[in-house]
């Protein structure tokens, strides 16, 4: 009974999350701080934005775009939703300035758009399964961002040859992180 639910969550967590399926780990890290605490808040806001945006994108796609066959308007409409999301989140998160100050996540909420696009290209069968997949993707964003921030902080102080310092060493470490995620995915499969 609960197996499809768990499977949907794990699919979002390991297989569909854009950090692994699209290799966006280095891109996600570009907006994140090296400070673990700040990276956690950034990741939390990112996860929340992805969840909210993903739900709205799903509704837009299946309630408006698909029935009216307006696929050509989908991308502009998805991007038009972004300023609205930012405005709503800024108002909603006013009592939590540590979260609000990170808006938008990376550039124009890039990770949220990536998650929504991946979800719409691999749609789960029902709304409930979609919500669980999205929850998995959001959890994966938070976890990978905290991991990546830790990794970057360690690499900044590591002893490397000058040309390897910064992004090159981080990209090599991200590659290993990607392989680790693949290993977990194979275990689940």
């Amino acid at each position: 009974m609960t197996a499809p639910l768990a499977l949907s969550f794990l699919t979002g967590l390991l297989a569909l999350n854009p950090w692994i399926s699209l290799g966006l780990i280095p891109t996600a890290a570009q907006g994140a701080s090296l400070n673990h605490r700040q990276a956690f808040y950034y990741g939390l806001l990112g996860a929340f934005t992805m969840l909210l945006y993903g739900l709205l994108a799903w509704l837009l796609h299946f309630q408006i775009i698909a029935p009216l066959r307006m696929a050509v308007f989908e991308l502009p409409l998805l991007l038009l939703m972004m300023p609205g999301i930012n405005w709503a989140l800024a108002r909603l998160l006013k009592p939590w300035p540590r979260l609000e100050q990170n808006l938008p996540v990376f550039h124009l909420n890039f990770p949220a758009l990536a998650a929504a696009l991946v979800l719409l290209h691999n749609p789960p069968a029902t709304f409930g399964l979609m919500a669980l997949t999205l929850l998995g993707m959001s959890a994966s964003f938070l976890a990978s961002l905290v991991l990546v921030s830790h990794l970057r902080a360690r690499l900044e102080t590591g002893l490397f040859h000058k040309p390897l310092k910064g992004w090159p060493s981080f990209l090599l470490a991200s590659g290993i992180l990607w392989i680790a995620f693949q290993g977990l995915l194979m275990l689940v499969r």
Binding site: G23, P26, L79, L80, M82, A114, H121, L172, I179
Partner: protein, 200 residues
Amino acid sequence: MRLPSESKQQLFLKNLWSENPVMFSGLGMFLAVAGTATMDQAFFLGAIVLLLLLFNSLVSSAVGELFQKKVPLWPQVILSSILLSGLAVFLSGAFASLPDNTRILYALLAASPLVYSRSQLLSYNTTIDRALFDAAGTGVGTLAVLLAIALVREMIGQGRLAGFSVFPPAPWPLLNTLFGGILLTGILLTIFNLLVKNKK
């Protein structure tokens, strides 16, 4: 930094190599990692980036010259997404022959900082021809990086090139996965640091 004394050719060459957007500022890294599975995919996405850069710079510099105003980011994003959606209708045949993730990467370009970098930083403040040369340098520089990574990934990861078998068993199939994109981008950045950044 762009100096008013720089010629159009200097602007073009600077963005092509010494201030290449992917290697110098890390813009469009997601394309280098995920959009380089084959040469076709790299060329397709690189060409779209070039087109978007030229379009945004043209709009931004034209509005700057006519009204002395900078086009805000959001109208540019919406305009670019409309352009991408319109183009997708004509390119649906091309998508079918490219790797699965191409459609998602294509749509993600609408929110990528890479395609707005020139129009938001320089184009609104300069003449149309200079803006176009600047954007063209950035676009061609991105395309060159994508093609370089794709060339190695396709040859070593798949053992073939342009449809022909080069190495019958692929020497290192792991390069055909996203790990290959991440690793080769890292190696390319290291080479760039050795040749350009460390000299400064």
